[in-house]
Symmetry: C2
Subunit: 150 residues, 2 copies
DNA sequence: CAATCAATGATGAAAATTGACCAGAAAGAC
DNA sequence: GTCTTTCTGGTCAATTTTCATCATTGATTG
């Protein structure tokens, strides 16, 4: 585990919001020389603190107007049932996130689809076809007042 | 709304995974000249299809070992109650995402905290203190077999 | 078939990246 | 206290990238 000082936190805070900021601008923002800044960023990347960089795409602007979170409960909690479910989720392009959680359900999914019919296809053809699944609850996203996903 | 062709989709697919790739490398990847590639990227940014770029930070490596999703139900569904709740979420640094959803709850939150005590503080002092909140259910994230958040 | 419009590729100047090298501060050993 | 050792920052220059401009290609329309 690497030690993260105040300057590192400053850098991370900036990069979390502006992942494509130039090293020069970043250096100026955190009041450091470009080379020192670069060294820190590289160290943070090497340590895995920065796992990568992503462009944030707007689903609506890409014709993916339908976003929902689903809670999924499994019939059995065997390792093989979980593995099979996770494999199906990995293969499903509509599934952007699949979190294994504690509580009265096993999984929480984020699903993005073009529209309601497309979502229905996923719901019935993919999820509904899985023998491990026992309960599905859909929470359609109306809006996201805050979204700092990183 | 801008039209997005196959090349654009290629570009987006690459940028979604490697947000900091150089324009030169991106151009090579999608088999286009650098200038044409840059123009497309700029158009996508201007159209809002690319909403921004983010560094993906590893919560665990930053001492934020505790990640949970919470479903939150409100007592009343007035506009003012929602606004007050959303404002509180915007102010809470532990809250990384706040989605307004349909279903038997109003909100779905993603919360990241250093550990269980830190989470408890958020749960009781912040969420518990809000008069609008009626129900809270916590789903602690054990693992994320898939996470393509963008 | 000519004209027009859109998109591409080429070019080059300006800017950014990135690593080598050096200086100074902090920590530890004696 | 002094001498190392280590760590972090700054400077600078070579390399690479960005990005605006311009000519060309190709498709579409009248």
């Amino acid at each position: 585990m690497m030690k993260i000082d105040q300057k590192d936190r400053q850098i991370l805070r900036v990069l979390a919001r502006e992942g494509r900021i130039s090293n020069l601008a970043l250096a100026e923002r955190v009041a450091l020389s470009p080379s020192a800044t670069l060294r820190r960023v590289q160290a943070l990347e090497a340590a895995g603190v920065i796992a990568g960089y992503r462009a944030m795409l707007d689903p609506a602007k890409m014709g993916q107007g339908f976003v929902a979170y689903l809670s999924v409960g499994l019939k059995t909690h065997t390792k093989s049932a979980q593995a099979a479910f996770e494999q199906a989720m990995a293969a499903a392009s509509e599934v952007r996130e699949c979190h294994n959680v504690t509580g009265n359900v096993e999984y929480l999914l984020r699903v993005e689809a073009a529209d309601l019919p497309a979502y229905k296809r996923f719901h019935t053809d993919i999820l509904g076809a899985l023998p491990q699944v026992s309960t599905i609850t859909t929470y359609v996203v109306i809006g996201s007042p805050k979204d700092e996903r990183k």
